[in-house]
């Protein structure tokens, strides 16, 4: 596969600036923005390589799937319109089988039964949408004990379905800090040869000493540094996307952050497999270019 470049998550306040350009190489779109305004999506799709990023499928939820079917009926026309090169959602649940909505991503219990369900869902979604699917690791508030590790779950999911992994490096980093393990060591346990996309964002430490994926800050050096661990993703990675929701500001600084990620990937992806960079070596990599 060809690396398409680095990009940003679409936010409505940047719409006019994106149309005026210059924008990023890749634009990641949450389809909900355009359910009521498909024309707005079409004009973006004419200018940018699009990846879709969903937060509403609740792919791990058991149940009759009626809400998934209703959502697919909304998604399908947008997929036809924008022709995204990738469709992603999260390895998570956002609602219960009987219909309680959490409004955000909750961790799953990584049991065999859960794996079977996600395998079934991935196959059905790829068939329904006709787009390669990737699932993202979330910033986990805690582990539900007694299941597989997340890397093992992803590895077995990839093995059974061939789906991709959207590796959120910042989620991994913040979860590692909150749960007390080494993110650089941990990331190597994932099926990195299946990573289709990487997310980078900035989190913050809350008043209780817990790291939150707030998408409110510039990307930390430690998140950038995790790119150096993804040598096994050289053949699979399509894009790197910077996520920012709070303190959004202008488009240009975000595009600059994306371009920086692309430069780092050009260095690490081709030359630096197996390195364990510090913040200083991230800067060295950039200076070397």
């Amino acid at each position: 596969m060809t690396f398409l470049g680095a990009g940003i998550g679409y936010r409505r306040s940047h719409h006019a600036a994106l149309l005026a350009g210059p924008g990023p190489s890749v634009l990641e779109i949450v389809p909900d923005h355009f359910f009521a305004d498909p024309a707005g999506l079409e004009e973006l799709a004419d200018r940018y390589t699009i990846v879709f990023h969903d937060v509403g499928l609740s792919i791990a939820s058991a149940g009759d799937g009626a809400l998934v079917q209703a959502r697919l009926a909304r998604l399908a026309p947008l997929v036809r319109l924008a022709r995204p090169v990738l469709f992603s959602d999260h390895l998570a649940l956002t609602r219960s089988p009987a219909g309680i909505d959490l409004g955000h991503l909750a961790p799953i219990w990584r049991s065999e039964e859960q794996l079977d369900l996600v395998v079934e869902r991935v196959r059905a979604l790829e068939d329904a949408l006709g787009v390669p699917l990737a699932l993202e690791n979330i910033a986990a508030p805690f582990e539900i004990p007694g299941g597989m590790s997340e890397p093992e779950f992803f590895a077995r999911l990839v093995q059974r379905t061939g789906c991709g992994l959207l590796l959120d490096a910042t989620n991994l980093l913040l979860t590692a800090r909150n749960q007390g393990y080494d993110a650089r060591r941990r990331v190597r346990e994932y099926p990195l040869e299946a990573v289709r996309q990487v997310h980078l964002a900035g989190g913050l430490l809350d008043a209780e000493g817990f790291w939150v994926d707030s998408h409110s800050e510039p990307v930390e050096e430690e998140s950038f540094a995790l790119l150096a661990e993804l040598g096994r993703s050289r053949q699979s990675l399509l894009s790197i996307v910077i996520e920012r929701d709070e303190q959004l500001g202008e488009l240009a600084p975000l595009v600059a952050e994306a371009e920086r990620a692309a430069r780092l990937w050009a260095t690490y992806g081709s030359e630096a497999r197996g390195r364990q960079p510090s913040s200083a070596s991230v800067r060295s990599a950039e200076e070397a270019r």
Binding site: D32, F35, A36, A60, S61, A62, G63, L67, A70, R71, R74, L93, R95, S96, P97, A98, G99, I100, D101, L102, G103, H104, A106, W109, S111, E113, Q114, L117, P141, F142, I144, P145, G146, G147, E208, F210, V212
Partner: protein, 191 residues
């Protein structure tokens, strides 16, 4: 069964009353769910304080999405966040499918409870509840194009314009108004 496990887990995250029972007696709290022993053990092993933090974070995210739609109401009623959180922690949301943004959908869900709460609080501005409804219904109709209506005792459009300019009316005259919200405009006339 996976479904029973997820129902119990999501209920714990969404329902403060169930979490209080869970904190006091986990096994008793989980009795209504048909859980196998390993599922019950997995849920009981989740630290209660982590679960509580997660629940609060979920409500904060919902509030963040709703608060973006309420710039005027929040000037008039800065305590609305506390009022919302107290309500949302006790009231799990039903899953939905629709065109509305999460914030607008949450606003419609919270509207009856928070409107009543604001109306019944003499410390709040007399028009705060209607201004909240004005912003929620306006955002919802802008989002999905569905027409919505509101009857107010006040000239809400003028009040909204004052608040937008930084003026908080202290004792606005009663002027009953019928408002109609559409995708691209708000219409109003004296009632």
């Amino acid at each position: 069964m996976l479904a029973a496990f997820q129902e119990a887990f999501v209920s714990l995250a969404a329902d403060a009353r169930l979490r209080r029972r869970f904190a006091a007696d986990p096994r008793a709290a989980l009795l209504p769910f048909a859980l196998a022993a390993p599922e019950r053990a997995a849920l009981c092993a989740i630290p209660v304080e982590r679960l509580e933090r997660f629940a609060r974070a979920l409500v904060s995210k919902r509030w963040g999405e709703l608060a973006r739609l309420l710039p005027l109401t929040l000037r008039v009623s800065p305590g609305l966040a506390r009022r919302y959180r107290a309500w949302a922690l006790e009231c799990p949301a039903p899953a939905r499918d629709g065109l509305l943004s999460p914030g607008a959908a949450e606003g419609l869900r919270a509207l009856p409870a928070l409107h009543a709460s604001l109306v019944n609080d003499p410390r709040e501005a007399c028009y705060a509840a209607d201004l909240f409804a004005f912003e929620v219904l306006g955002a919802a109709s802008r989002g999905d194009g569905e027409p919505r209506g509101l009857h107010s005792r006040f000239a809400l459009v003028a009040i909204a314009e004052d608040v937008r300019r930084g003026l908080l009316p202290v004792d606005p005259e009663l002027r009953a108004t019928e408002l109609g919200f559409e995708r691209d405009r708000v219409r109003w006339r004296p009632a």
